[in-house]
């Protein structure tokens, strides 16, 4: 008998093993929900799959009677636009700052302490300030995402730029590279796959800040909706919304991973295609 730590599952086994716990969780939910509904048909805490299905039809495929919008798509659109804007600003700012700080010691000496301090300020504590300064509109929500992500990404990318081997730093100069050329031809291309990796890790916090901001003040958005229907204990809406958010986050993570492997084959473990 081999040691258990040496037994690796093949593809099929791996798939089955991965699906079993997911199936079990769903099964457990259905059984518990059934139990509760049998005792009290008006129970709202654990709605049946059928009533969640009804809610999905109402929110995803039927226009709202008052506004004429299909709420799920409207909410998804509003949230994704905010999320995308917040991420885009953070990533572009972090890339610029990371490269400058990582490559130029004088700039690093000037700004690294400030960024280290800012990156430990709890972003949620700044939300009231953002609401006061930027009002309750879109800007304050995007600003919260940026404040939450950018300092972390800046530190992370500065670190990645600095950890390019010194041999390459010297080699580039012996090949005639100026500071600018080192940035655009060596530091930038080697940082981009790390940037994608860091962005993937930031998706979780990005959603956290987005939903928090939407929960407090918004007129649409996925976070806004679940906090709105919470008042009616509408678990049949909340649960599908949460699953939908999870799905979006999961798929965007997969897409970023695939994008990185496609654009930067040299940065990944698989044998690069030539």
């Amino acid at each position: 008998m081999r040691r258990i730590m040496n037994v690796n599952p093949d593809r099929v086994t791996k798939l089955v093993l991965g699906l079993v716990p997911i199936g079990l969780v769903i099964l457990l939910y259905v059984m518990m929900s059934h139990e509760r509904l049998a005792l009290n048909p008006a129970d709202k805490l654990m709605p049946s799959l059928a009533s969640m299905g009804d809610a999905i039809v109402r929110y995803a495929f039927t226009a709202d009677a008052r506004t004429g919008d299909v709420l799920l798509w409207k909410d998804t659109g509003a949230s994704l636009i905010r999320l995308f804007q917040g991420l885009a600003i953070s990533v572009i700012a972090a890339l610029a700052v990371g490269l400058l700080l990582g490559v130029i010691p004088l700039i690093r000496a000037g700004f690294a302490p400030l960024i280290s301090i800012v990156s430990v300020v709890p972003p949620m504590a700044l939300l009231p300030i953002l609401f006061i300064i930027f009002g309750l509109g879109e800007v304050s929500k995007i600003a919260l995402i940026v404040i939450g992500l950018a300092p972390f990404l800046m530190r992370d990318l500065t670190h990645h730029v600095q950890s390019i081997p010194v041999e390459q730093f010297i080699k580039a100069q012996t090949l005639g590279a100026s500071t600018w050329q080192y940035i655009v031809r060596v530091a930038l291309p080697q940082t981009l796959p790390k940037l994608i990796q860091s962005t993937r890790l930031s998706l979780g916090p990005a959603w956290l800040f987005l939903i928090s901001a939407e929960a407090i003040a918004a007129e649409s958005g996925l976070g806004y909706r679940i906090f709105l229907v919470r008042r009616y204990l509408a678990m049949d809406v909340i649960i599908p919304y949460v699953i939908w958010i999870t799905l979006i986050a999961f798929v965007s993570d997969l897409l970023l991973g695939a994008l990185s492997r496609k654009l930067y084959p040299w940065a990944h473990d698989e044998e690069p295609s030539t």
Binding site: E167, Q168, I170, K171, Q181, W266, E271, P272, T274
Partner: protein, 257 residues
């Protein structure tokens, strides 16, 4: 091809003296091997020629002029590892030298200029035997091939002086002797001055026209940091007695066919 003059160079880190009283004249076209125990400052010495570090005292003159205080295209280098850019293919790794010189802002060549540069890159890759791997990324190459690429990359700039920092230290013996042949050939055809740091004494004597050893001739047991390493032996390999004992390259097998 250029001469290098080192005049009374010292290197100190605070109270610790690493190198002291280094005086050396390398005529154009020398191939100097630098040997010595670990931590005796061989690599520090190479870094000072490279401009990566500055001597605490003394001057380093290349063709009579003090070397700049930073690395530049007149001094090429091959390190033991990490010399090539992982994000560029083999040919792009050589091309970048041409691109950096020709395109100050974008650092990228396009169109006809790129084609012309690529032509020269192919010739360089041919010299080091990497033509058929031109499109691969370095990670797909063996250690020996990566070092050959690093050499081709350095040759692209036609440096006055080529610095090799234990370039073959991580290679297996077979690959190593192939690399020796290659470097000897490139040195003769490109008429360069080469300074090579190595731990392999045999390699040092086989390749160099001159072998220089670094060591600490003076020691103070109470304060070991007070005395640095200096040149302890300077052995010219073109000396007829030594040359007679120098291993001759084996005859080419094709002669016997």
């Amino acid at each position: 091809m250029s001469e290098l003059l080192i005049r009374n160079v010292w290197k100190e880190y605070g109270a610790q003296i690493v190198l002291e009283r280094i005086n050396l004249h390398l005529p154009a076209g020398s191939f100097v091997s630098l040997v010595g125990p670990s931590g005796c400052g061989k690599t520090t010495f190479l870094r000072m020629i490279l401009g990566q570090e500055q001597p605490t005292r003394g001057d380093i003159l290349l063709d009579g002029k003090p070397i700049p205080r930073e690395p530049g295209p007149d001094r090429g280098v091959v390190f033991q590892r990490y010399s090539v850019f992982p994000h560029l293919t083999v040919i792009e790794n050589v091309l970048i030298g041409f691109e950096l010189a020709a395109a100050p802002f974008s650092g990228v060549l396009r169109g006809l200029a790129r084609e012309e540069a690529l032509e020269q890159c192919r010739a360089l890759l041919d010299q080091v035997g990497l033509s058929e791997h031109a499109g691969k990324f370095p990670r797909a190459l063996s250690g020996g091939m990566q070092q050959r690429l690093a050499i081709a990359q350095a040759l692209a700039k036609k440096p006055k002086i080529l610095l090799l920092d234990e370039p073959f230290g991580a290679l297996d013996p077979g690959t190593k002797s192939q690399m020796h042949e290659l470097v000897r050939h490139l040195w003769k055809t490109n008429a360069m001055t080469i300074v090579m740091v190595t731990h392999d004494i045999r390699e040092a004597f086989e390749l160099g026209t001159r072998v220089i050893t670094f060591d600490r001739p003076r020691r103070d047991p109470q304060a070991p940091e007070r005395y640095g390493a200096t040149i302890t032996y300077d052995i010219p390999m073109n000396d007829p007695i030594i040359s007679a004992h120098k291993p001759q390259p084996r005859p080419d097998a094709s002669l016997f066919q």
